[in-house]
C-alpha cells in the first residue's frame, strides 16, 4: 500500500554519461559539461529551460580542487539555484533524490542533476587521500588504508554466513562480463573465478579483482514535474520511491555482517513506492558494488535475499542478465568503473535506460517495469535508494 504523502509526481526524461576511464584528459568541469549536455539533448531541453541544478561529488581532495560544488556549477548552474549534496559514496544516488524533492515539493519544474569525480589526479595513489576519513585520535595513528575497513566488513560477512571467496568472486565475474555490453565501461572483461582468486592480494580477503578501479567520469540526469515530462516524452520514467539513512560513525562498535542502515533506507523507499515484497515486485536492480562482496551485502540489506542467502541466489543465476532479477546489468562499478559520485548516478541512469527500453546491448531479456538503484558510503554507514517505474 502506498503512503499518502502529499507531493508531486516526478519523472526522469534524459540522461548522459562520459566514458569512465583512468586519467581522463578532460578537466572535471569539462566532464560534467559533457554529461550535462548529453542529458539535456536526450530530454530535448536547453540549459535555459532548467530551474535548479543539483551537484554531487565526493570529497574535494580527489580532484584536488576545493569547493567543488561551485567549481562544477559551471557545467550548467551559473545564475541558477545550485546545491551540492555529499554523503560519501552514497552521493551518486543522493543526487537524484535531492533533485526529486526539488520537484516533488513544487519548488522546481526542471532540474539538472550532475555527478562528477576525478580520482586519478591524486599522486601516487588516491588511497593516501582517504586517510583523512578516519578518526584522528583513535584510528589514524594506526596508519589505516581505506581497504582495511572493507576487508574487515567482508571477512565478518564471510564468517557469520559461512561464505567462501569463490562464491563472492562470482559477482566480479558477472559484473565485468555485463560491462562488455556497456560502451562507457572501463574494466569490462571475460574473467573466471580463478582469475579473481589469482589477482594481487591487497588486504586479505580483498584482492585486486574483487575491487573496482580508480576512475574519472561524470553523469547527469534531467528530472522534471509530470506536466513537463508529458510534454517532452511519451516514455517518462517515474521516481516512485526514495530512501536514505545513516548509521553511527563508530563502525567499530557495530556488527558489520549486515547493512542495517540500508534496510532503513530501503524500507522508506518501498513504503513510498508501495512495494511489499521486493523479491517479487522488483524486476531489475543496480546495487552498489565497489567491491564484489558489497553487491551481495546490499542485496540482503535491500531485503531481496534473506541474510546470508544472496550468494546462493547468485549461484542459481537469479541475478544474471537473463535471470529473474538481473543485478548490475550495466556492469556496475566493478565493470564500468568507480568515479565515486558519478558511479552512483550511473547506476540510477542504468535503471532509467532499462525502464525506458533504451539500454541497447545492456537491455535485460525480460520485460521490466520496476527498477532500483542504490549507493553506499562514508564509514560503511550511509545508504541511498531510488525506486523507479515506467
Amino acid at each position: 500500500m502506498k503512503t499518502n504523502l502529499n507531493f508531486r509526481r516526478v519523472a526522469v526524461i534524459g540522461a548522459g554519461l562520459t566514458l569512465f576511464r583512468r586519467r581522463m584528459l578532460e578537466t572535471p568541469q569539462e566532464l560534467a559539461w559533457e554529461a550535462s549536455k548529453a542529458a539535456l539533448d536526450e530530454a530535448g531541453l536547453d540549459l535555459k529551460d532548467i530551474d535548479c541544478v543539483v551537484i554531487g561529488s565526493a570529497p574535494d581532495a580527489f580532484d584536488g580542487v576545493h569547493m567543488k560544488g561551485e567549481y562544477l556549477a559551471h557545467a550548467g548552474g551559473v545564475k541558477k539555484m545550485v546545491s551540492r549534496v555529499f554523503v560519501g559514496g552514497a552521493t551518486g544516488v543522493m543526487v537524484p533524490i535531492s533533485a526529486w524533492y526539488h520537484v516533488a515539493s513544487g519548488l522546481c519544474e526542471k532540474v539538472l542533476a550532475i555527478a562528477e569525480e576525478k580520482m586519478s589526479p591524486a599522486r601516487p595513489h588516491p588511497q593516501s587521500v582517504f586517510k583523512y576519513i578516519w578518526d584522528p585520535i583513535t584510528e589514524k595513528p594506526l596508519n589505516p588504508n581505506l581497504i582495511w575497513i572493507f576487508a574487515m566488513e567482508m571477512h565478518r560477512y564471510m564468517h557469520v554466513n559461512k561464505i567462501s571467496k569463490e562464491e563472492i568472486a562470482l559477482v566480479s565475474v558477472k559484473n565485468k562480463r555485463n560491462a562488455l555490453n556497456n560502451p562507457y565501461a572501463q574494466a569490462a572483461a571475460n574473467l573466471t573465478v580463478d582469475d579473481i582468486l589469482n589477482s594481487e592480494v591487497l588486504v586479505w580477503p580483498v584482492q585486486r579483482l574483487d575491487t573496482s578501479p580508480v576512475s574519472d567520469g561524470a553523469a547527469a540526469m534531467v528530472i522534471t514535474s509530470e506536466d513537463v515530462a508529458r510534454r517532452h516524452t511519451d516514455t517518462p520514467v517515474w521516481i516512485e520511491g526514495v530512501g536514505w539513512a545513516l548509521d553511527n560513525t563508530e563502525w567499530i562498535q557495530r556488527d558489520l555482517y549486515y547493512p542495517r542502515y540500508l534496510e532503513y533506507a530501503a524500507r522508506m523507499a518501498y513504503r513510498m513506492a508501495g512495494i511489499e515484497n521486493p523479491f517479487k515486485e522488483i524486476d531489475v536492480i543496480e546495487p552498489y558494488d565497489p567491491f564484489d562482496y558489497k553487491e551481495l551485502h546490499h542485496i540482503e540489506g535491500l531485503m531481496i535475499a534473506k541474510r546470508g542467502d544472496a550468494p546462493k541466489l547468485l549461484k542459481e543465476g537469479v541475478f544474471d542478465i537473463d535471470g529473474d532479477i538481473p543485478s548490475s546489468p550495466s556492469g556496475g562499478l566493478l565493470g564500468v568503473g568507480n568515479p565515486i559520485a558519478a558511479a552512483g548516478l550511473m547506476k540510477t541512469i542504468s535503471i532509467y535506460w532499462q525502464l525506458k527500453g533504451t539500454a541497447g546491448k545492456m537491455q535485460v531479456k525480460k520485460p521490466v517495469h520496476t527498477g532500483l538503484a542504490q549507493a553506499w558510503g562514508d564509514l560503511m554507514q550511509a545508504s541511498t535508494v531510488v525506486v523507479m517505474r515506467n
Partner: protein, 165 residues
C-alpha cells in the same frame, strides 16, 4: 569528444605539480577521548555508560546516540575481548606493497555478549599468524592487550592484541 583517456606514455610527458600543504592540526580530544587517552597511559580502557539503554561506549562518548541524552558514568572495561573480524594488509596507507602483511581487526571488549549488535569495541593490530586470519580460525578467539612499556596516552600504547586461549 566523449572522453579521451591518457595513456601510460602520455603520462611521462605531463608536468606533475607537487605541493605539500602546510596543513597541521591541533585536534581537540574532548572530555571523553582525553579520559580515554589518559586511561591508556595507565593500562586501562575507559568507556562511558548510558544508564537508560545500558550501552557502553568504547571509545567513550559524552552523549548517547540512541537516547540523545548525556551518558551517565565512566566505566573501565577489560583489556580483553573477542575477535569480531581480522584482516591482513599487504599494502601501506599509500598503497605501497608491504613485505610483511600487517594484521588488524576489531575486538569486542568485555563486558559484552556474543549477540550484541552494538558493543564496546576497539580497532587495533592483532598479533596472530597469517594462517589463522586466512582460515578465519582467529574469529571468536579471546584476546588480551599487549601494553607497551613506555606509554604516552595514545592508541599506540597498546602494541597489539594477543590470543589468550
Amino acid at each position: 569528444m566523449n572522453g579521451t583517456p591518457l595513456k601510460e606514455e602520455d603520462l611521462k610527458k605531463i608536468h606533475i605539480i607537487k605541493y605539500k600543504p602546510d596543513a597541521k592540526y591541533s585536534y581537540t580530544a574532548g572530555q571523553a577521548y582525553s579520559k580515554f587517552l589518559a586511561g591508556l597511559k595507565e593500562k586501562k580502557i575507559i568507556g562511558r555508560k548510558c544508564n537508560k539503554c545500558g550501552r557502553v561506549y568504547v571509545p567513550p562518548r559524552m552523549y548517547c546516540d540512541d537516547c540523545f541524552k548525556p551518558t551517565d558514568e565512566w566505566i573501565e572495561v577489560k583489556d580483553e575481548g573477542i575477535v569480531e573480524t581480522a584482516v591482513a594488509s599487504y599494502i601501506s596507507w599509500t598503497r605501497e606493497r608491504l613485505e610483511k602483511p600487517e594484521i588488524v581487526g576489531v575486538i569486542r571488549l568485555f563486558p559484552s555478549r556474543d549477540n550484541d549488535w552494538v558493543f564496546p569495541g576497539i580497532f587495533h593490530r592483532i598479533c596472530v599468524d597469517l594462517e589463522q586470519v586466512k582460515d578465519m580460525s582467529v574469529f571468536g578467539k579471546k584476546v588480551k592487550a599487549v601494553w607497551n612499556e613506555e606509554r604516552i596516552g595514545s592508541v599506540n600504547d597498546i602494541e597489539c592484541f594477543k590470543v589468550v586461549e
